[in-house]
Structures are given as C-alpha cells and as structure tokens.
Symmetry: C2
Subunit: 134 residues, 2 copies
DNA sequence: TACTAGCTTGACGTTAACGTAAAGGTCAAT
DNA sequence: ATTGACCTTTACGTTAACGTCAAGCTAGTA
C-alpha cells in the first residue's frame, strides 16, 4: 500500500489542474517526491491538498492555508515555546472560524426570511393568476 | 432622521477605503445618490455594503456578493416565475453555505485535536524541562 | 481672495491565483 | 525508429480587487 500518484492522477482526483499542483508546490503547500524529474505524490500530499482546498473554500489565501496546514505538522521538537505559540495560533484561528460561522448562520437566517416572503407571495399570487408566466 | 453619509464617513465606519466604495459602485453593489457630483450614501447603501463585506469574509467574489444581495431586493413585480427562480437561488445558496459550515466544523474539530496534543505534550514536557525556552 | 479639506474622474500599477503556450525530455508500444 | 502519452521548466497572459497617483472642481474659512 502507501499508494503514490502522478500529477495528473492527483489533479483528476481533486478536480484541479496540474498547474495548480505545481503552483501549490511553489507556495510550499505540496512537496512531492521525485522519480527522476517527475513528481510522485503520496498520502501526505493528499492530506495537505485536501486541507488547502478546504481553506480556499472558506476564503483563506494560499499563504494562510500554508500556515494553517503547518499547524498539523508533528510538533517540532516538543519545545515549550513552540507549543505555546502553536496554542496561540490555534486560538486565533478558532476565533476567525467562529466569526465565519456566525456570518454563515446570519446569512442562512436571512435566506430563510426571504424564502418565507417568497412562499407568502406565491400563496396569495397563485390565487390571483395561477399560471402567470409573463 | 434617515441620516446620510459622505464617502469618507462611510469608508471610516466600515474600515474600507473610498476607492473600495467607488469600486463597489462600479460593480453594481452600491448606488449612492448625488448631491451635485458628490456621492451621498443612505441606509440602503449601508445595508448592502454590510452584506457585501460579509459575503467577502465567506470567500465569495464581488459578483457573487452582488447576486446574493439582489436576492434581498423587493420581489420584482411578484411574478410567479421570478419568485420560483428566487426560491431556487436561495436553495442553491443555502447548500453552499451549509457546505462551508461543514468545512468550518471539520476544521474546528481538527484544531481541537491539535490543541489536545499540544497540552498533552506540554504536560509531559514541562515535567522534564520546566523552563525550556531554547 | 487665497487656502485648505474633501470631493470628483481618469488611468496606470499591483498582488494572488492561476491559465496558457512554447520547447523539450522519457518511455512504452507499434 | 517514430509515434503518442505523459512529464518537465520557463515565461508571458489574465482576472479580481483594489492601490496609487494626477489633475481638477467646490465649498467654507482666514
């Protein structure tokens, strides 16, 4: 096991282009092995790519994504200072995430309100002109 | 009441630049009144700006934001077709938002896991070398 | 009246996140 | 041996979302 993937295999699996994978490598997000000159991606790369794309969906920049992903790395040397800094980063990031979730919930609430108005209008309107499609 | 705002007042209140406000106008997000040539912003603009910035925080493009904001507009003519289309848009958008919320929750979970590891390491490590700050 | 503060419209510059084309290497199959 | 399917690097192009001048209008104040 511990399957490996060519660049086009990985690209297809995640529905991105090979250009994107090379670009993410430049950005320090991916770091595939090499077989000769060709890139060979493993599990670690898949995990990091998944995290990067998730970060992007939430509106983070690739630099942000890289920083976030680095939090997942084995805790470097277990040095107390590093651990404390990691804790701080986690708390910061959590606040950002909670903020985004509040934004989402507020938006969902708005959508529900609009939807209610919609159905209300549809109810009264369909009585007056059932097949109005002008 | 129904206060109005100059461009710099509104910019300061929302912590954006005047350039941004003019740009959003080009994008069809804001449409202030004019007093002579100067822009005069009202409540409607404030609401739309707030919605736009919220959308941006969630990773939507300005074009997306504009589309979303337009959902809030008084339902045009109450025509059945338009109402149905609005319903569809709302449902679509809701799915996107729910997806993002799942991403957030997954990330929060990850953060909690890392934090746990952190504290675990700190517990054992502080016994071995209480003031290790190298 | 001259000055300052704040407004306007261009218009070119910048950064992020890729797209896209060019030119060429490699390896298996025909 | 050449074709085709991949892979590589290099490098210029593109879009979104503004930043940053430049040049000029305008209203209130010293």
């Amino acid at each position: 096991m511990n399957r490996t993937y060519s660049i086009s295999e990985l690209a297809e699996e995640f529905d991105v282009t090979t250009r994107t994978l090379r670009f993410y490598e430049d950005k320090g997000i991916l770091s595939p092995q090499r077989k000769g000159t060709a890139r060979v991606y493993g599990e670690r790369d898949k995990v990091r790519l998944r995290l990067a794309l998730r970060g992007k969906r939430l509106g983070f920049s690739l630099d942000d994504c890289r920083e976030i992903i680095e939090m997942y790395d084995p805790i470097a040397g277990n040095k107390v200072r590093q651990l404390r800094r990691l804790q701080d980063k986690i708390r910061e990031h959590r606040q950002v995430l909670l903020g985004k979730r509040e934004d989402i919930d507020a938006t969902l609430k708005n959508m529900a309100e609009i939807e209610a108005l919609c159905e209300q209008h549809l109810a009264t309107n369909s009585n007056n002109s059932p097949d109005n499609n002008s």
